[in-house]
Symmetry: C2
Subunit: 197 residues, 2 copies
């Protein structure tokens, strides 16, 4: 598509709407956020929000498509094979969480998913698209169960660190958290699935 | 306190209010639930809810005090020492989750904590009171970090199974989930905290 002066103005509104939507979903969750409030924060007419993004659910999906590219995770995890996969997942997760551009988006996704079934379905889809293929690339036994336990650990950790802000999860350094989580994730991916086995 | 006919009627209202509050917090989260709606569901006047329980936050705290006694967990985990502690924690957690009386309460707590700082503080307190003392009883190194990672795993697993309802977490049998989680929790409690160490 050709870029014109007008086009660039349109794209500016669209970016402002997405930024306002991310802030609103992070602050108020899916149910609490309103198209009207998002439009006000973006200094546009609510009709323009609907015109660009459709329903609130579609706007939510658009607003969370940005934090990271799932294919990056797949590459980062599978590139080095099974050895060290736990550490690579932990590092990738912490990298995404420490990025001030993506963390509020993820907080918003988690808050929204906790209170709204459509947002939960979106997060389910995001997790399935992001982590399952990465784990499949490692050719493990029970890949779905291992992948879903691994991402539940990351969701729980993110929730504890950034939503509940519980000590010491919130005070421990990222490096120490990677060091603690890497062997646990590695165990989750590759260890025996029976206790004591 | 002496039990009289009148007292028992009062206690009936109080029980109905707590039950309605649990249902409301589970359904709508802390912010979405209202004293008015809870009173209506319990067939009492809103003033009676305030009279018995004070603010909405106090009602929330009262409504989540019931799911289990933290001292039970401490006993269940520490009684057998370090060996098998991961499996005992996994079994205790699944037992609480499978109980149809406690699961909706926990779903409500999690939903509320995700969207409301006061509810998050309450859940923080619950987790700290429940799991930290149990892990302290095991006399491990880094008890706070290990305990907080362990409960973040349980929170993430509960979130994945009962809120997001993601497969295969939601379809796997409780026994298989205990079998999968026990060695991971054991590793979290007792394994080296440095990757490769």
């Amino acid at each position: 598509m050709a870029r014109t002066g007008r086009r660039s103005g349109v794209s500016g509104s669209s970016e402002r709407i997405l930024a306002a939507a991310r802030a609103a979903f992070a602050e108020a969750g899916f149910e609490g956020a309103t198209i009207r409030g998002i439009a006000r924060a973006a200094a546009v007419d609510p009709a323009l929000v609907h015109h660009y993004f459709g329903t609130k659910e579609q706007l939510f999906v658009a607003s969370i498509e940005l934090p990271f590219d799932p294919s990056e995770l797949v590459g980062a995890v599978t590139a080095g094979g099974v050895d060290g996969a736990g550490e690579r997942i932990a590092r990738f997760a912490l990298g995404v969480w420490l990025d001030p551009g993506t963390r509020p988006v993820l907080v918003g996704v988690l808050r929204s998913a906790a209170s709204d079934e459509r947002a939960a379905a979106t997060l389910r889809g995001l997790l399935e698209r992001a982590l399952l293929p990465a784990v499949h690339g490692l050719r493990l036994d029970h890949p779905e169960l291992r992948a879903s336990i691994a991402w539940s650990q990351l969701v729980g950790l993110f929730f504890g660190r950034y939503v509940l802000r519980v000590r010491p999860l919130v005070t421990v350094s990222p490096e120490a958290l990677v060091a603690a989580m890497a062997p646990i994730l590695q165990r989750t991916l590759t260890g025996p699935m029976r206790p004591g086995a």
